[in-house]
Amino acid sequence: MEQNLALVLFSGTDDKLNAAAVMTAGAAAIGRPVHIFLQYWALDSFRADRIADDHGLAPEAGDAGRRAVDALAAAGQAPWHETLRQAKELGEVDIQACSLSMDLLQITESDLDPLVDGVEGVTSFWLAASDGQVVFI
């Protein structure tokens, strides 16, 4: 049994979500169970009606970063939500929305993309994370 990995996604920009999706897919590929906890702006980007929108980039990207990201997308790089979808097919990936962030954004589970498996509180997250590594993005 591979050690489980917990990812806390806070940032909602496409570059950070893409980095998280790639990390998830790699872990799933080697059989590590991945538990993803969506908070704040990351959760906002998982709204069903907005998931495919442009969620911008981290400020350090600048204009050159924007062009580089656009060029890779034009060359056929899969969007982060597609990579996550494939990772879920490949391995054990559980995506949970933070209940407090749901309150903050004033949304319900029906507002979220089907990629999200459920809603949980922070204690449930820590119980799921157990003794595995936790990464905050």
């Binding site: 790639v22 897919a25 790699g26 590929a29 080697i30 890779l72 060359a75 056929g76 790089q77 899969a78 990579t83 494939q86 990772a87 097919e89 490949l90």
Partner: protein
């Protein structure tokens, strides 16, 4: 060359797909296949050329070889389990 004489069961054309796309496509193909199948992965992604052999070893399959073609690599894998 061994890779030219190995009968290929299936070819996964992952050219144009970025890391970890080619590996994910290979895993899907291996799961769908039978033990003994030889799968050829075509990948133009540099990272996948490094990662796929490591995954093959970890997952308990056999890397038959990597051939560099024009603009892509052909990675041959035998499904062992």
């Amino acid at each position: 060359m061994q890779t030219q004489t190995t009968p290929i069961t299936r070819t996964v054309d992952a050219r144009g797909s970025y890391c970890p796309g080619p590996l994910m496509e290979l895993i899907r193909s291996i799961r769908e296949g039978q033990v003994g199948d030889v799968i050829a992965v075509w990948s133009s992604d540099a990272g996948s050329k490094l990662d796929i052999p490591k995954w093959i070893e970890k997952a308990g399959h056999r890397l038959i070889g990597i051939e560099t073609r024009e603009g892509y690599d052909e990675i041959l894998v035998e499904k062992l389990r």
